[in-house]
């Protein structure tokens, strides 16, 4: 398919300008699309994961169907995440991931089943074992299907090609090429959220000791995964450390120092960092001022007050938020246009803004298009 060229800047230029806290030609728009093509195009969710050619084709189709947007995902990228042979929260070899074609119908989207209270992936006594032996003892290579492992290298090559195609042919950046995991999130997923919340009260010193031990390796693991797929952009996320989950005291002790170290290192190493911060961060936004200025983008959903975020972080970090995913299923184009205009009115000044949201896999296309079109018309910066 051909690139869409009708605006003064390319998407790559637009996105990088906004991230550098300067005004591009218009506000960049990013619908975070995962499996939306499954509903509208001849592709299954299973193919979206396992077939990099087919998923690239589907992503290009929806990009054109929606008239073009500013950030894409490379076809095949999701596969690499799920067949990671090392103990990782996305790896289907370790946790109860329900994937299309494996425990799910081929058209259902993947979901992670939370670890059970009684028999989680790691036990309390394993905190000490991790400090003693690292994470690799958790790896069971018999568990990793040989067929998948053989495919990994081949698919990696294709993902790198697809990534390159977005950047140079379409001149659209790909985001989420790789991902970094903080110890806090890793342990919460391995223990199960409820068990981990009890651990926070019962064994805080152990959590800190394991986190100190793991952080440098987890930072490297993120970079390694990224380079395998030939990417430039890295996602770090943290739903479980927000104000919907933990206190400021626990955030300061158990989460922030490690997150800050990870993000700062990725920026220093020249990667484009996207912070994916779902749920409510409003009461802890000021911490993000400690991160490098003008280098990072921060996604928030409707639970964080984006106007407060603009006030606190506007001269420091490029932000996106305030659009509720379910609105793209239940709402109307007029409702979305109204909300997008309000975000642009209050947050676009001086750059540092993307408009976007996570798009549910059953969203209405006209709603997604309304967000994109409003940015292309109403979101133009007038010089």
């Amino acid at each position: 398919m051909e690139p869409i060229k009708e605006e003064p800047m390319t998407s790559v230029e637009r996105v990088l300008t906004a991230m550098a806290l300067k005004e591009p030609d218009r506000v960049p728009v990013w619908p975070l699309i995962d499996y939306l093509p499954v509903k509208y195009y001849d592709v299954t969710a299973q193919e979206m994961i396992e077939d990099p050619d087919k998923s690239q084709e589907a992503y290009e189709w929806i990009y054109h169907k929606l008239g073009g947007y500013d950030i894409a995902m490379a076809g095949g990228g999701i596969y690499m995440m799920h067949v990671n042979p090392f103990p990782d929260i996305f790896s289907m070899f370790y946790l109860d991931w329900r994937l299309p074609g494996r425990f799910l119908d081929k058209n259902e989207s993947p979901q992670l089943v939370e670890q059970s209270l009684e028999d989680p992936f790691i036990k309390v006594e394993d905190y000490d074992k991790i400090i003693d032996k690292g994470l690799l003892w958790l790896a069971n290579f018999k568990r990793a299907g040989m067929k998948d492992m053989m495919k990994l290298g081949k698919i990696g090559e294709k993902v790198a090609k697809n990534t390159e195609r977005w950047w140079t042919h379409f001149q659209v950046p790909t985001f989420s090429d790789g991902g970094g995991l903080t110890p806090f999130i890793l342990l919460s997923v391995f223990r199960g959220a409820t068990n981990f919340m009890k651990d926070i009260y019962r064994y805080p010193d152990k959590i800190i000791a394991v986190s100190d031990f793991l952080i440098d390796n987890l930072i490297l693991m993120g970079e390694y995964g990224l380079l395998m797929g030939g990417g430039k952009t890295i996602i770090v996320g943290a739903t479980r450390a927000s104000a919907d989950f933990i206190s400021i005291k626990h955030f300061e002790e158990l989460y922030w120092p490690y997150f800050k170290k990870m993000v700062s290192k990725y920026v220093k190493d020249g990667f484009i960092v996207q912070m994916h911060m779902d749920t409510n961060w409003t009461d802890r936004l000021h911490y993000f001022k400690e991160l490098p200025k003008g280098k990072i983008y921060m996604h928030m959903d409707e639970r964080t007050d984006i106007f407060k975020a603009k006030e606190i972080l506007g001269d420091h970090i490029c932000i996106q938020g305030n659009l509720k995913p379910s609105l793209f299923k239940l709402g109307t184009p007029a409702m979305i246009e109204k909300q997008v205009k309000e975000i642009i009115d209050k947050c676009a000044d001086g750059g540092g803004l993307f408009v976007g949201a996570e798009i549910p896999d059953d969203a209405k296309l006209e709603n997604v298009k309304a967000m994109i079109d409003t940015c292309k018309t109403y979101g133009v910066y007038r010089k």
């Binding site: 329900r98 259902e108 989207s109 979901q111 992670l112 089943v113 939370e114 209270l117 959220a193 409820t194 919340m197 009890k198 926070i200 009260y201 019962r202 104000a243 919907d244 989950f245 933990i246 206190s247 626990h250 749920t279 009461d283 639970r303 509720k324 995913p325 379910s326 299923k329 239940l330 709402g331 549910p360 896999d361 059953d362 969203a363």
Partner: protein, 213 residues
């Protein structure tokens, strides 16, 4: 401070071991286990208030629920010796609906419902309409609670309400939906009576329903 006051305080400050010691001490003093349960409830109630004021977070709700549950276990043996059975506030059937497996919030809601004195039947995750119907029939439930995070849950919640209607059960139960994204739009779409993204408030809502009778 009186031991009873001390126990409330220990629960509120989430001092786990101290709470258990005090529960045992009260039992030794000969305090009726039911009264001890009420004291624990009072503590959980104050934790919930702090949660609403954003002084406490989900972690604290989980811990308060844990302290309540573990204390109830200590009291169980003593309770069994009591001749009269304690009456439940009402019967709740709950589950994360079909197509969705998220259950962090649901599990906390279940614990708080139990702490408040409800008989709770937790069906688990990815629950089809039919399973809700069967359980409602079997338990003569007063309240049905759907949990969900993804938009796919919206369709399943709607189907479950329709199935309740077809089975002639809709008028016999009240429906509450819960999850971080649920809002008035979700509630109307699903045909529920209430929605909440706050487990503690959700318990208040269903308690009020039963009080209104």
């Amino acid at each position: 401070m009186e031991t009873k006051e001390e126990l409330i305080q220990a629960v509120v400050e989430l001092e786990e071991q101290k709470s258990y010691s005090l529960v045992k001490a009260l039992l030794d003093e000969g305090v009726n286990p039911k009264e001890i349960i009420d004291i624990l409830r009072k503590g959980v109630e104050i934790v919930g208030e702090r949660f609403n004021k954003k002084e406490y977070f989900l972690t604290e709700l989980v811990m308060a629920g844990e302290i309540f549950q573990q204390s109830a276990k200590i009291l169980e043996t003593a309770m069994k010796e009591e001749t009269e059975t304690s009456e439940s506030l009402g019967v709740v059937v709950i589950g994360t609906v079909k197509g969705d497996v998220h259950d962090i919030g649901k599990n906390i809601f279940v614990t708080l419902l139990q702490a408040a004195g409800f008989e709770v039947h937790d069906l688990g995750v990815d629950i089809a309409a039919e399973k809700f119907i069967n359980k409602v029939k079997e338990t003569k439930a007063d309240i049905v609670a759907y949990s969900g995070l993804l938009t796919v849950a919206l369709d399943s919640m709607k189907e479950t309400t329709e199935a309740l209607r077809s089975a002639g059960l809709r008028e016999k139960v009240k429906i509450i939906i819960g999850g971080l994204p649920v809002d008035e739009m979700w509630m109307k779409e699903v045909g529920a009576d209430a929605y909440t993204d706050n487990a503690f408030e959700g318990v208040k809502t269903v308690t009020n329903w039963l009080k209104e009778g």
